[in-house]
Symmetry: C2
DNA sequence: CCGTATCCCCCCAGATACTG
DNA sequence: CAGTATCTGGGGGGATACGG
């Protein structure tokens, strides 16, 4: 499989080029955002950043996640080629999950967003208070 | 408050530091992701990148959005200080929306994610096919 | 230990109709 | 033109119990 076609740099107005209905790029971004923007995916990916983690450790480190959602999230990530699953035939059973190369590429934009969130949280909270008081 | 220089010092394991349960940073990121990661927010923000846009133009440029969802999305963004609303007492009525400085800071990480999505879409599609065939 | 199966609730998006 | 009001269905996701 060839690497991503260099195609083009993004136009000056990048989000516009991305989201415009003229290309189907908007659809692609939307679909991926639906995948990754759900309640648990980014959290789980973040927990896998340092290397292989077992199922139980993952569940412990993602507070509040149910077995059901952890399993669903991991399955989806595995299907998308972002996570590799390795099970060891031991007693007690052990299953480890780790990010693939593709999965690792998610970390950079995710961190970018996380950084934005942390930097902006204060300003957003202020804006909300101001808005709520006024109205 | 000028622009936000990349003044930051995240730990080596960034997502870990962000998402770990030990800090409430994970909660912050999760909350913001819930705000921004919904079905329409990023699309609307993308449409506002170039400057003020009227309500009707916005509705036309975001294909498939309902009046209800457009209004809700704009209200939420306004409350969060990301969008400024200006209404003109004319006939016919005119209301324009534009990004605030805070709102503009969202574009950079959003574009980062969008770029990732476009670059990764192919690999993910391949991974899915491989996964579905095998199993 | 590592999941799967089932039930169920709640929220949110869509459709529609109506106002200033 | 720029919204609001109300109803409704579908699905995400939690709790729980069970299987390998």
């Amino acid at each position: 499989m060839g690497d991503a076609p260099p195609q083009n740099s993004m136009p000056a107005s990048e989000m516009d080029g991305i989201c415009s209905g003229s290309h189907d790029a908007g659809t692609i971004v939307r679909d991926l955002l639906d995948q990754v923007g759900d309640k648990w995916t980014l959290l789980v990916v973040g927990m896998l950043e340092d290397g292989p983690v077992r199922y139980s450790a993952l569940k412990a480190r993602v507070p509040g996640i149910s077995q059901r959602m952890l399993t669903l999230t991991l399955k989806k990530l595995e299907r998308d080629g972002m996570v590799r699953r390795e099970s060891f035939a031991e007693i007690p059973p052990r299953v480890e999950y780790e990010l693939t190369e593709l999965g690792r590429t998610l970390i950079e934009p995710a961190v970018g967003f996380a950084r934005w969130a942390l930097e902006s949280a204060g300003a957003i909270a202020e804006a909300r208070e101001a808005y709520d008081i006024r109205d």
